[in-house]
C-alpha cells in the first residue's frame, strides 16, 4: 500500500471541515469517542448541528475563534492507499502555515463554495499551491446541493478558474462538483449530477498516479551524516566509512560512477546499505548509506551526483520567497541564515525585484520590502556555494529556508528559479 499526502485549502465556510469529516467518517477513521466529544462540545456551545471543524481545529484558540490557525494532520486509509491530510488554514494571516502544509503535499484540494464562485481566497490558494509546486490540484466545487446541482454553475466556475489557471504553472488540474454535506461525489458518484462523468473525489485520490512525481532522473544525494563506527573489537569495521542521507533525486546503484561536490572528485559506489542491509538500488525518498570505493574527504552538506549531471555550485540565487515573520521586513541587505538540503550557509539579500499580489498576481516592481506573508522575487548572495537545482526540477534540491540570525525562527521559504 502506498502513501498519498494531500493538503486541503479553503475556509470553514467553504465546507472544508465537512469534507474532511466526511472522508474520515466514510472511511471509518473517526472513532466513536472523537465523534462523541465533538457532538458534546457542539451541544455545549449551543450549536444546532455537529460542528465537524472541531475534529481538526484542535487548539484552544482555534475552537474559541472558530478558525483554523495552523495545519492539522489527519490520517485515514482505504484498502488501496494510506492518506495524510494536511488541513491548512485559509486566512491570509496564516499563509505561512498553509505553505508548511502544502510543501510536502502530492495533491491539493482547493474548495470553492458553488454559491459564491471563485473568490479572492480561492485564487490565492491556487496560486500558493502552484508556487509550492504541489503536483496535482483539485478544484472541488462544493455545496452543489444549494445551487440545485446545476451544471451551468459548475461550468461557469470551471471556465473562470481555467482562465485564471493559464497564469499559473498548474501541472495537473481536476474539477469535481461535490456536496460534502450530503456526500455527493465525495466517496460515491452522485446520482444528483448525471451530467458529471468524472470520478468521485475519493476515487480520484485513490487512483491518482503519483510515482512519477518524484525526480528519478537527476541523481542528488545530499550527505547528511558520516557513519564511522568506533568499534575497537571489530577489525572489519575499522575502516568503515558510510555516507548517510536521504536520496533527493535519481536512482543510485552499486557500481555507479559518482561525482562528489564541492571537490569534483569521481569515485564508484561500492555498496548501498539501508539499515545495515545491502540493497540493489536507492531512490527517493529512501534513507540509505553509501559506501564508496575511494577515500575522498566527504562531510555533511556535500553532494553526491553523477559526473555528467551536476548542479551548479551557486552563490547567487534567484528565487521566489515567502516571507513569514512580522518581526522585521525582508529588504535588500537583510542578512540571513540559509538552509538548503543538509548545507547551512549565510546569505544577504542583494535585490528585491518585485512583490506579487497573491490575490491578483499583479507584480509591484516599486516594492522596497516584504512584510509577513508577502511573496516576491529576490536575489541572494551566499557566503559559500550550494548545489541547487531550479525548484521546478526538484522540490528537495530547489527549496531552501531562511532563518533569522538573532531570533533563530524560520522567517522565509525560497523556491529557487535560477542558481549560478
Amino acid at each position: 500500500m502506498d502513501l498519498l499526502r494531500f493538503a486541503t485549502a479553503g475556509s470553514v465556510d467553504d465546507g472544508k471541515s465537512t469534507l474532511i469529516g466526511r472522508l474520515l467518517y466514510d472511511s471509518k477513521s473517526i472513532f466513536e469517542d472523537q465523534l462523541e466529544a465533538v457532538e458534546r462540545t457542539s451541544r455545549d456551545r449551543g450549536e444546532e448541528t455537529t460542528n465537524l471543524a472541531l475534529l481538526t481545529d484542535g487548539l484552544r484558540a482555534e475552537r474559541e475563534q472558530g478558525i483554523t490557525i495552523d495545519v492539522a494532520y489527519r490520517y485515514f486509509a482505504t484498502p488501496r492507499r494510506k492518506f495524510i491530510i494536511a488541513d491548512t488554514p485559509g486566512h491570509i494571516q496564516y499563509t505561512r502555515n498553509m505553505v508548511t502544509g502544502a510543501s510536502t503535499a502530492d495533491l491539493a484540494v482547493v474548495l470553492v463554495d458553488a454559491r459564491n464562485g471563485l473568490t479572492e481566497q480561492s485564487r490565492r490558494h491556487a496560486f500558493l499551491t502552484t508556487l509550492l509546486r504541489v503536483p496535482h490540484l483539485v478544484l472541488a466545487v462544493n455545496k452543489m446541493d444549494l445551487v440545485g446541482y446545476d451544471q451551468a454553475v459548475f461550468d461557469q466556475i470551471r471556465d473562470e478558474f481555467s482562465k485564471f489557471a493559464t497564469k499559473l504553472e498548474v501541472q495537473d488540474l481536476t474539477f469535481i462538483p461535490i456536496s460534502a454535506l450530503h456526500g455527493d461525489n465525495v466517496v460515491e458518484r452522485s446520482a444528483n449530477m448525471p451530467w458529471y462523468d468524472g470520478p468521485s473525489l475519493l476515487h480520484h485520490l485513490e487512483h491518482l498516479h503519483i510515482a512519477s512525481d518524484r525526480n528519478l532522473i537527476d541523481v542528488r544525494f545530499p550527505v547528511q551524516y558520516v557513519i564511522r563506527p568506533h568499534a575497537a573489537d571489530n577489525p572489519e569495521l575499522h575502516d568503515y566509512r558510510g555516507y548517510a542521507g536521504q536520496v533527493a533525486g535519481g536512482v543510485l546503484k552499486p557500481g555507479d560512477e559518482v561525482l562528489h561536490l564541492p571537490s569534483g572528485f569521481t569515485t564508484t559506489i561500492n555498496a548501498i546499505e539501508a539499515a545495515g542491509q545491502s540493497v540493489a538500488e536507492a531512490f527517493p525518498p529512501m534513507s540509505v548509506t553509501l559506501l564508496l570505493a575511494d577515500d575522498v574527504d566527504i562531510s555533511r552538506g556535500d553532494l553526491i551526483c553523477r559526473p555528467n549531471n551536476r548542479p551548479a555550485g551557486a552563490q547567487d540565487i534567484e528565487g521566489m520567497v515567502v516571507w513569514m515573520t512580522a518581526d522585521r521586513p525582508l529588504a535588500p541587505r537583510s542578512r540571513l541564515i540559509v538552509k538548503h538540503t543538509t548545507r547551512t550557509v549565510k546569505g544577504i539579500v542583494t535585490d528585491l525585484h518585485y512583490r506579487i499580489d497573491v490575490n491578483t498576481l499583479h507584480r509591484d516592481e516599486t516594492a522596497t520590502s516584504l512584510g509577513l506573508n508577502e511573496i516576491g522575487r529576490i536575489r541572494l548572495r551566499l557566503t559559500q556555494p550550494i548545489f541547487a537545482d531550479p525548484y521546478t526540477r526538484s522540490r528537495l534540491t530547489g527549496g531552501m529556508i531562511l532563518i533569522d540570525e538573532a531570533t533563530h525562527t524560520t522567517v522565509g521559504a525560497v523556491m529557487i528559479t535560477d542558481a549560478r
Partner: protein, 303 residues
Amino acid sequence: MPTDYLLSQLDVLEAESIHVIREVAAEFERPALLFSGGKDSIVMLALAEKAFRPANIPFPVMHVDTGHNFPEVLEFRDRRVAELGVRLEVASVQASIDAGRAVEETGRWTSRNRLQTVTLLDAIEDNRFDALFGGARRDEEKARAKERVFSFRDEFGQWDPKNQRPELWNLYNTRIRRGEHIRVFPLSNWTELDIWAYIEREGLEIPSIYYAHEREVFERDGILLAVSEYLPRAEDEQPFMATVRYRTVGDMTITGAVVSTAATVAEVIAEVAATRITERGQTRADDRTSEAAMEDRKREGYF
C-alpha cells in the same frame, strides 16, 4: 527487486523517520531519546538503531520514571538498553518529590502524570540536553495533530502552539539559544496501525502486557485500572480478575487495560483495525480532565 520504484507506506515512514533522527544527530550537541518502554518508543529506538548501523546510537536514552511503572516494562527497558549498549538516564519523579521540587497529589485521583513535567524539565537542564526525541504521534490526540516534527521549547520548556516555526519540505530548523531545546517527533506521521504493522514486519519484541493476560483490575469511569499499591480505591471499586491487554503503556495509575484475548501481533492488529475507539480515549484517564488537557500540559512542557 523494485523495478517501478514504489515504496510501501511503511518504507516511506521509515525513511522519513531515519532522516529526522540523523538530522538531530548531525545538528545538535546533546540529544537524548525519551524511552518509556511503550510500543512507540520501542519503534523509535529501533529506527534510531537502523539510522546509525553499524555504529552505535550516538546519544543516550532517558526514561522519566514515575515510580508507578509496570514491572514488566522496567524489566524490558533494562534488557533492551543493555542489548543496544546505549547509556540509560533515569529521571525519577520520586527524587523530584523527595527534593521538594514536586508535590505528590493526594486523594482518589492521585497521579504523577503532571509531576513528570517537573522531573523532565529538571533532567533536561541538568544534562544540558538540547534535543529530545519523543515517540508522540499526530493521530493520537488533537493538540498533537498540530505539532511540528521539530517543536521548539523556550527556556521554561513551554510550547507555544500559536507561534510555531514554519516547517517546509524536509528542512528542519535546529537553531536554538542556550537553555532552549527542541522536542523532535520522528513518528509524527505514523498511526497506531502503522506502529503495529512495523512491529510485526520487523519482529520487534514488546513488553508482555501488550498481549492478553490475566490481571486483577477494577473499573473507574469505564476504564479498567490495574489493582496496585499506588492507587487508592473507593469502597465500591471492587477488584476482579479479567483477561486484558494494554493498548498503551504509561503510568499504572492512569493507564487502562482493555478486555482482549489477542495473544499475538497479528491478533492485536486485527483488534486495532476493528476498534471504534481511539487508544487514548479507551485507556488514558489523563486526557479526560478537560477538552484541552493535552494542549495545556504540552504548553507546560509535557511530552
